[in-house]
């Protein structure tokens, strides 16, 4: 009884307050208040972008806050609408569903004339994002050229194997058997890295007169193992490797001789699994492991010799590009002009669209 009564009073109070509040005006109009929307809170690479971005935005004097969508696109859209209702006037969005330009369009529609800076997670594959960006002059994208990381990783792998073929070919059968750890199904970056990491390496091997890489498990037609939760996690990679070792090991003479990972998080998991088996440490045999991102942990592992290489996703560069664009937009510039105004050799405006900025990758080895 009382509960219902209280609930009723609460509702009445809220409704009353609602109408009282109607007359009030908004916060100071000219103040820029940015909200940064992240697809997920625990992504390692994005955490380093966040650290850098927080610093950059503070330095630029832009008020901001961070919102995490927990890998849930509908939740992110709710967050965006709510932030707009709350007076945010600059959206910086790390979209959850990458590769769906319609979702990006929905976000832009919800934003109205508020500028939207998309970053990191691509809003479309194979140029399908160009239309959305060209149609909406309030929006821009700051990210990386998704295939580039895959190409760079593939080249690094190819070069390394050609130089160290005998050591890498543990069972001496003249063929390198590899495992591939994919971060997520359907993610643009993951797709390209999974494809080019192997294709480009094979091209180099072929040119050097060596046999192409062979996926370690002939029954797996996909030729990769994917994090079922789509979280690009070390945990998933470690568990896959532990399971793989049961059948594929040195005793059976079919040990996995190379592991390619979509990101450094997964590479760390693989290294941990290898180290449990006595590899990749203390002068033991090193199974080459490659990642992407150059997270602090991965760089440390590479310096120790437990991991071979990674592709540096420039977190500071990304953060600087976003913050400088935000600053220019806050100063009244359009996104296109803001991107064009970024004078830094870490960035380049995309060839197919002038509201798309790429932050360059760089290979990282010991």
């Amino acid at each position: 009884m009382q509960k219902k009564l209280m609930a009723l009073l609460l509702c009445l109070a809220m409704t009353a307050a609602l109408f009282v509040g109607c007359g009030k005006t908004d916060d100071k109009k000219d103040e820029v208040k940015a909200t940064v929307f992240w697809y997920e809170e625990s992504d390692v690479y994005l955490s380093s972008v966040r650290t850098a971005l927080n610093k950059e935005l503070e330095a630029a004097g832009i008020k901001y806050d961070n919102q995490f969508a927990g890998n849930d696109q509908a939740k992110q859209i709710d967050q965006i609408k709510t932030a707009i209702a709350g007076g945010t006037n600059l959206l910086i969005v790390n979209i959850v569903t990458s590769g769906a330009p319609d979702t990006a369009q929905d976000i832009i529609d919800a934003a109205g004339d508020i500028p939207v800076i998309f970053f990191n997670r691509a809003i479309g594959t194979d140029g399908s994002d160009v239309k959305v960006l060209k149609d909406n002059e309030t929006a821009c994208f700051i990210g990386t050229d998704a295939p580039e990381a895959g190409h760079m990783q593939g080249k690094m792998i190819g070069d390394y194997i050609v130089a160290n073929f005998a050591t890498v070919d543990k069972n001496g059968d003249g063929v390198i058997s590899y495992a591939m750890m994919k971060g997520q199904e359907g993610n643009v970056e993951a797709e390209y890295r999974t494809q080019y990491g192997v294709e480009d390496a094979n091209a180099i091997l072929k040119a050097a007169g060596k046999a192409e890489l062979k996926y370690f498990d002939a029954n797996n037609k996909d030729c990769y193992q994917v994090d079922q939760d789509g979280a690009w996690s070390a945990k998933a990679a470690k568990e896959y490797m532990e399971t793989n070792f049961v059948t594929y090991n040195e005793a059976s003479n079919n040990m996995i001789e190379l592991v390619i990972c979509n990101n450094d998080g997964m590479a760390e998991g693989v290294v941990a699994a290898l180290q449990d088996k006595g590899y990749n440490k203390d002068g033991g045999h090193v199974v080459p492991v490659f990642g992407v991102d150059a997270t602090e942990n991965a760089v440390a592992l590479i310096n120790e010799g437990a991991m071979i290489g990674t592709v540096k996703q420039d977190a500071e560069g990304m953060a600087a590009a976003i913050a400088n664009t935000a600053k220019a937009i806050a100063g009244g510039s359009t996104p296109v002009a803001a991107l064009a105004g970024l004078k830094d050799d870490r960035f380049s405006v995309a060839k197919d669209c002038d509201s798309k900025l790429f932050v360059a990758y760089a290979p990282y080895t010991k």
């Binding site: 009030k24 916060d27 569903t97 769906a100 330009p101 199904e185 359907g186």
Partner: protein, 360 residues
């Protein structure tokens, strides 16, 4: 639903008859039993004072839009909780039905269309697809209910299993026709209009049509819960299955139907979800059941079984969404949102159980 004014008079009359000690208890009990609502009121007032935007019509439109999106799943899952069970498969079922609805209702001229030979998207086809996905949800719910009722398995185990199986089907479905796990987008205008089209405007924010559908669903569920023998049987089975059986309630069919009805609701939730996100990915619906269960529990649908009301569920969903909206507007990093949500669920359950402990 008696006259609230009469009730206040009644309570105050009763209050005058109490002695000093009972009067004190009246207040402490009153405060403890309503602690959640009192805290919410303080929270709302605080937010409103810091962010005047919180109390605008546009903000209210945003709030009810979100409530309408989260309600169907909560309404469905509540039945399972009334039976002292739970349902972990809710989110994945809605993810699967969202995917089905999306591919059936893609634009005719969309380049990456999953199935090329589908009829043109008309109102009839949309309704047919909606019925279809509701049916898919209901069938999975039926499987849940059958295993719970037939083998006396705990719903936690049964729905955990169907959650995994459903996710497997989702992943398989996303890999069909060379789609390679890509999200489904290119939803047709007609579908978007049917679900998310503007109903009316509040402030400068459009209220979508699914708010109206949510109201209709609430009416339907209220009728089922309160005015049908099935609803009464559900509460009887929830409070004491043995006693219900002895008094002639068909426990098997009641359990099966509660889960089937829940599944149908998740099916509908999926139908709306695709339009809300603009596209459907394999992760759509992930963990959605957590919010639904939390809303029910906060709204007084007890895991003890046999208690709960539709109005409570609506209140629970409202409270969760108010917290979400307020914290997002306050610009609180969402890490603390999880902590606050967790604390509130814990408090709500503890306060709820306290009532039962006092009664005993």
């Amino acid at each position: 639903m008696t006259n609230p004014l009469k009730k206040i008079k009644q309570v105050s009359a009763d209050y005058k008859l109490l002695d000093a000690r009972d009067k004190k208890r009246f207040w402490t009990d009153g405060i403890l039993n309503n602690a959640l609502y009192i805290l919410m009121a303080i929270f709302v007032i605080y937010t409103a004072s810091v962010r005047p935007n919180f109390l605008t019509l546009g903000s209210f439109a945003n709030l009810i839009t979100q409530v309408a999106a989260y309600l169907p799943m909560a309404l469905g899952i509540a039945g399972c909780i009334v039976l002292t069970g739970t349902d972990l498969s809710a989110g994945r079922i809605s993810g699967l039905t969202a995917a089905f609805a999306a591919v059936m209702l893609q634009k005719t001229d969309f380049a990456n269309k999953m199935f090329q030979s589908l009829p043109k998207v008309t109102l009839g086809w949309i309704l047919l697809v909606m019925l279809g996905v509701v049916l898919v949800g209901a069938i999975i719910g039926l499987v849940n209910g059958y295993f719970v009722a037939k083998f006396s398995l705990h719903p936690f185990i049964v729905t955990l299993s169907t959650q995994l199986i459903t996710y497997g089907i989702i992943l398989w479905f996303f890999g069909l026709n060379g789609n390679n796990g890509q999200p489904f987008s290119g939803l047709s205008k007609e579908y978007k209009e049917f679900v998310g089209g503007e109903l009316f405007r509040l402030g400068n924010v459009a209220v979508p049509k699914y708010v109206l559908y949510a109201v209709l669903l609430v009416a339907l569920m209220w009728f089922i819960w309160n005015k049908t023998s099935f609803g009464k049987n559900m509460f009887a089975v929830g409070s004491n299955a043995e006693a219900a059986k002895v008094s002639g309630v068909n426990v098997f069919w009641t359990t099966v139907l509660v889960h089937t009805l829940a599944g149908a609701m998740y099916g509908y939730a999926g139908f709306v979800e695709g339009v809300r996100s603009g596209s459907v990915a394999a992760t759509t619906g992930l963990n959605a059941e957590c919010d639904a269960i939390a809303a029910c529990v906060i709204g007084g649908v007890s895991f003890v079984g046999g208690t709960g009301s539709i109005s409570g569920i609506i209140l629970g969903v409202f409270i969760l969404r108010i917290i979400f909206v307020a914290l997002t507007m306050l610009g609180v990093d969402s890490s603390s949102l999880y902590i606050i949500k967790g604390a509130i669920i814990l408090c709500a359950c503890a306060l709820d159980m306290r009532k039962y402990l006092v009664k005993k």
